[in-house]
């Protein structure tokens, strides 16, 4: 449980953090809450020479509305995300998901930015991020860029984060006010990670037809994914038990099912269907 030796520096600003990364010549890693990084370091699965602590850059703790999107600073903890009035009001799916990450101690330290930058295939947050068309806000040597979450996370623990750059925040699209949402999770009994996590949002128009629907799943394979077949099947339809059940059968279509000690690919596929169905029922019926 003891990491290899490393040096440790504080960055007071984003620019300074980037400068420190440049100085470290690729051997540095950024740390905030540390709940993705330190567990790996304790097993010596990653051995950075220097940790650049960004946890005291207060501007990365802000939450604000920008037009149709909500910007959540990278350093907002899962706990704070689950309680923040702006997040609860505008993207309750994010609040709901954040409230189910890990456990209460982990939620007090783990951060939204750190979680997504880590791209753990078993993490909860990517489901919400995919459903909410999240954009990762990245500050790099040449300024700021935004990358959609599906182009940012490209594999297990692999992202398109450019060298010497920093995730400073995440921008989530604000769903229409009539959309309901839920994050439904099947906990791995040991790790607490989702064996499957379904983030679903949906709303119906005045005629009762589904006019807004987003479904994303995490935990089942290398990366989270949007269940577009489910969305397309239901869009424009009036929700019914049968309709939801049929649509939910397509929940695993866009995903690659992983397999591990606890659950095979076949079983995960079943969980995708069952949990998607239950998630959709809870918000549509």
């Amino acid at each position: 449980m003891i990491p290899v030796k490393f040096d440790y520096v504080h960055a007071a600003t984003v620019d300074q953090a980037i400068k420190l990364m440049q100085d470290s010549d690729g051997t540095g890693k950024v740390i905030a809450g540390g709940h993705s990084l330190l567990p790996l370091m304790k097993f010596r699965l990653t051995e950075p020479d220097v940790l650049i602590d960004i946890s005291r850059i207060d501007q990365l703790k802000e939450v604000k509305v920008e037009g149709e999107r909500l910007i959540v600073g990278a350093l907002v903890t899962h706990h704070d995300a689950s309680k923040h009035p702006l997040i609860q009001a505008h993207v309750p799916l994010l609040a709901d998901t954040a409230s189910q990450i890990g456990d209460l101690q982990i939620r007090n330290r783990g951060t939204i930015g750190g979680n997504l930058a880590h791209a753990d295939p078993a993490a909860d947050l990517p489901a919400a991020a995919f459903a909410l068309d999240a954009e990762i806000i990245i500050q790099g040597e040449d300024g700021e860029e935004r990358m959609s979450v599906d182009s940012f996370i490209i594999g297990p623990l692999i992202t398109m984060l450019p060298e010497n750059s920093l995730v400073t925040g995440v921008s989530f699209s604000i769903p229409p006010s009539h959309a309901k949402s839920v994050y439904l999770k099947y906990f791995h009994p040991a790790s607490g990670y989702p064996v499957v996590g379904v983030a679903a949002m949906a709303g119906t128009d005045k005629a009762g037809a589904i006019d807004y629907i987003k479904v994303a799943l995490t935990g089942v394979g290398d990366v989270a994914f949007r269940a577009e077949s489910v969305e397309q099947t239901l869009l424009g339809q009036k929700p019914s038990e049968k309709m939801i059940r049929e649509a939910a059968r397509l929940a695993a279509e866009e995903g690659e099912m992983g397999s591990d000690l606890f659950a095979s690919a076949e079983y995960r596929e079943n969980l995708c269907k069952v949990y998607t169905e239950r998630a959709l029922r809870s918000i549509l019926l």
Binding site: Y8, G34, P39, L51, D53, L104
Partner: protein
């Protein structure tokens, strides 16, 4: 590459303490080995068991998953800062009365996590308490008497808060034991 030790200064259980440590030193080792606060325990190496849970700036945190340097200038509360043997904190008192502990190894961390829970939710249901314990593992008790203990503590703390105003609940957290450490 020479890596310099860092001076880490914290206010722990109301007292300022500091020690020079390697940047890689885990907060739990800093507390135990450098400050001699051995009431906080280590039960795993994957951040699962929660035996090392303490309060950092008022929030329950697993001290095995935090570096000492990250805690520099923070306010910490460990089990030694909860209550004394002669004047137990309501959580400690309730664990005692309800037989919420057997070997006592996970107990300090469990109590800290549950104080964290009560801060968020002063009157949790049995289900909420059980869910709140996702981040702790007790191998002795089967949890049932821990649940009873937390229910009792919640009641005592709520009554005290109602009686004396909101300040009490906060002061109970850093209780009689603050002179120690």
């Amino acid at each position: 590459m020479a890596i310099e030790n860092r001076k880490v200064t914290v206010t722990v259980n109301g007292q300022e303490r500091s020690a020079e440590v390697e940047p890689r030193k885990l907060l739990v080792h800093y507390l135990r080995d450098d400050l001699g606060l051995t009431g906080t325990h280590i039960g795993c190496d994957t951040s699962q068991c929660g035996a090392c849970t303490i309060m950092v700036n008022g929030a329950a945190v697993k001290s095995c998953t935090m570096l000492a340097v990250q805690a520099d200038k923070s306010e910490l509360t460990t089990v030694e800062g909860l209550g004394t043997i002669d004047h137990l904190h309501p959580m400690q008192q309730s664990f005692w009365e309800e037989h919420g502990l057997q070997c006592g190894y996970c107990t300090p961390g469990v109590m800290m996590a549950m104080i964290g829970l009560l801060q968020e939710n002063p009157n949790p249901s049995e289900e909420e308490i059980r869910e709140g314990m996702e981040g702790v593992i007790c191998r002795c008790t089967g949890y049932q008497f821990i649940v009873s203990a937390v229910q009792k503590a919640a009641k005592i703390m709520a009554e005290a808060a109602a009686k004396d105003g909101e300040a009490v609940a906060a002061s109970q957290l850093v209780g009689e034991g603050t002179h120690r450490g």
